[in-house]
Symmetry: C2
Subunit: 117 residues, 2 copies
């Protein structure tokens, strides 16, 4: 079976801890230890989350001495953006329709005012 890259990406993003880690990494690479500190989670759990991000190709891990440095892959997040933007036309149309409805309601209201009830 073909691997569902986008699927594993979304799955990786479904956890708030991992999204926070991404936010942290967007401000520069960090070691596993550096990622553990802010999160009140065990080091083992952080390693698991990182493994998940690595599997989803969102993060790259490189060994430097006794540290593992994690780096964010910008392409990964762009992939998500591209997916969502592919529906841009749909949601803009929907919002336009909503606008139209609102406007019609407004004019009906002013109509009511003119004609009384």
């Amino acid at each position: 079976m073909v691997v569902d890259h986008l699927g594993t990406t979304f799955a990786a993003l479904s956890d708030p801890t991992r999204r926070a880690m991404i936010e942290r990494l967007s401000r520069g690479p960090a070691s596993v230890h550096g990622l553990t500190e802010p999160f009140a989670l065990s080091q083992q759990m952080i390693s698991k989350h990182i493994a998940y991000l690595v599997r989803a190709r969102i993060v790259i891990k490189t060994r430097r001495g006794r540290e593992s440095v994690c780096t964010l892959r910008p392409e990964a997040i762009k992939t998500v953006s591209d997916w969502a933007i592919s529906y841009r036309q749909f949601w803009e149309e929907s919002f336009d329709k909503l606008d139209a409805v609102v406007n019609r309601m407004k004019s009906e209201v002013s109509n009511d005012k003119k004609h009384g009830q």
Copy 2:
């Protein structure tokens, strides 16, 4: 605990069947039966997937006679887009840096050519 809306949204998007259902619904509302046909999955399973999408507030279900009509909520997908776009600055900077590296490599290559090896 506070509900992690974005998290359940991403989780809902992690399944290829559900993403295909979203693609289908972006072209207009459909009944459960209408959503079952293209997917070679049992009706029960499709109902489960729809329930997942409803829980993530991506889809709204309305009963009409014996049918349940599913409609896509455009705001839900816009949420995903907004999340990804919040990292736009990060990835554009990264791509710029990559460009810089590539350019430096190019100039080094032309340098090698000039000086021989």
